[in-house]
Symmetry: C2
Subunit: 361 residues, 2 copies
């Protein structure tokens, strides 16, 4: 693959294994109806022909019912308790879990009991022990499970990965990545939101957005971390319990390092760069939705920039999940993949406490 | 200052304190005639009206004489020994030292003995003890001294610094910087070059090019390091004695971190980014010469890119040094400033050995 081939490939769904016109739509119970679900997930479900958000589940029954009335394809609103009790269990095939991190496992357990496949938001859970319980629960029940990283079906990231995989950067040597936003000012002003609550979230900027450069570095390098170091900081009193800002470095095999930064309290920004012996690529903006991705490539003395059409990342991800659940191809990123991030992020926090490298081996 | 003002300021020599038409040209002894001197320094001297490279000093007398014949303004070629002996000492006012790092001090000592001002290449010397000796020698003699970082008079960097200083990024929170090149393949194929010799260089990629993002981070933040951590690596046998690659993080006051990368054996690249609570700026390409700098700014919802005319960084620096030596304004970056980088780089190496943060306080 060269730059011409990247341009030609564009936003093609190269992961597709079955014709979506030949399958029954996949019916989802959507669990957790916060701003992300309302603003991002439900519109993507509505745009999809391959899946439908038939059941909406919330702690607040009236909110669930209001959203059912406003959402194409939605048929029933349930409380969390009603969901656990099995109400409407014949009306969905899979669950999409968008609850606070520490409430992922309970819905995985119920989905497994009802033999429903699971699409679970990142990070998998609030800690690695509970993430392991997610994996074990899905394995025991024989259900499909996937972690909703979005980037594995983002066309710019997929094309970048092909570029690396074809050796066009030579040997990768370094990754630099960042993701930041003004959470309270620009996204959600609520001081009581679960993202600020260590019990519910497990971590702060690292768990919520630092995971993007971390996971995308893994995806681009096709490698897993072997050690981590990092520092966390908070200046705003809303971030008393979780990290507002994190700067961390992940060691990959063969002396490859990824330097990453995330903050919930600085200007919105996102990028990932990978530098190799023969070239460099950079995606910027990289991670937030509704942005036209730019992929900047340099190799030898040449430089090129490719602008990708903006795709709905949630829509892409739902289509992929449906393709894998309805078809036979293996699903990715699965729980084992997600657990690696959980352990790496815990190692970053431990390293921040101890002031030294923490091994992941 | 806003973006309009940056555009209007452009490449103006805002540091100028005296009219160069009113001063006697500053006559330099140029000490060390390697590829950098021949390709970069001498052409810049030739282009300058404010200074002249009257005396050229080399270990190889015939090389010195050949270059005198080929260089406008050059009058005499000397060996290192002849220079130390005081030959032609009336024919230069200042020295520009471009020898291997471990041979800076001896020429500073001779320049001080002859009451000549000193422009010394970065890094100051091969270690911080010898850097302190450089400072003490210049102070005792009452001569001017400056470290030749180039970036302090690079217009794109100066404009970026004003942007930060005016608070247009809000509170700076993170810096990301890198500099890399294929030293052997693209710059100098000689396996015997001093940059690969730990005795002469003191360090590898960090000392030679990692110092650019480090020092430019300090300049942009107007702050000094308080701790460092890093990792070094070498894959190529030419880098048996010094680091081929270094990935390091510098802690600045108030939980600001700079993540940096340098390599002598990957694709040429250089950039520096600084992210604050209100905005972000990025210079790319940032450090190598003969490149049109681009300064990318984002603030609120706006983004802008400013392309700067390519200046000859060496020429700018020689003009600045001459302005300060001939005038009364303080000179910067001086030896005390350079020593901070020496200590920070030694801390990176120590941290790489120990696997933990090394304090600089």
């Amino acid at each position: 693959m060269d730059i011409d081939a990247i341009l030609a490939e564009g936003c093609r769904r190269d992961w597709r294994t079955i014709d979506p016109g030949t399958i029954e739509p996949l019916r989802f119970a959507v669990i957790g109806l916060g701003w992300f679900t309302r603003g991002r997930a439900l519109p993507a479900f509505e745009a999809s022909e391959a899946c439908e958000p038939t059941v909406l589940v919330s702690g607040d029954e009236s909110k669930a019912e209001r959203l059912v009335a406003a959402t194409d394809g939605a048929e029933q609103g349930l409380t969390y308790d009603a969901f656990h009790d099995g109400v409407a269990r014949e009306d969905y095939d899979a669950v999409y879990i968008v609850t606070p991190n520490a409430r992922h496992l309970e819905f995985v357990e119920t989905a497994a009991a009802f033999d429903k496949d699971v699409l679970c938001e990142k990070p998998m859970e609030r800690d690695s022990d509970r993430a392991r319980a997610v994996i074990g629960t899905c394995a025991d029940a024989g259900i499909e499970s996937m972690i909703a990283y979005r980037m594995h079906t983002e066309p710019a990231v997929r094309r970048a990965r092909e570029f690396v995989r074809e050796g066009l950067l030579g040997e990768p040597q370094h990754v630099s990545g960042d993701m930041s936003q003004r959470l309270l000012d620009r996204v959600n002003p609520d001081r009581d939101q679960w993202r600020l609550d260590e019990e519910l979230a497990g971590g702060g900027a690292l768990f919520d957005i630092g995971i993007y450069p971390l996971n995308t570095a893994r995806f681009l390098l096709d490698a897993d971390p072997i050690a981590a170091i990092g520092q966390t900081g908070s200046s705003h009193d809303a971030f008393a319990d979780v990290d507002e800002t994190v700067s961390f470095t992940i060691e990959f095999p063969e002396d490859v390092y990824a330097s990453c930064f995330a903050s919930h309290n600085v200007h919105q920004s996102s990028s990932i760069s990978i530098t190799g012996t023969e070239g460099q690529l950079r995606i910027e903006p990289a991670f937030f939705q509704d942005e036209a991705r730019e992929l900047h490539l340099s190799r030898g003395d040449g430089r090129a920039s490719v602008t990708f059409e903006t795709v709905d990342q949630m829509h892409e991800q739902f289509e992929y999940f449906t393709d894998r659940v309805r078809g036979d191809a293996p699903i990715h990123p699965d729980g084992d993949h997600g657990l690696v991030d959980m352990r790496a992020m815990e190692a970053v926090y431990e390293a921040a406490d101890r002031g030294e490298w923490v091994s992941l081996s």
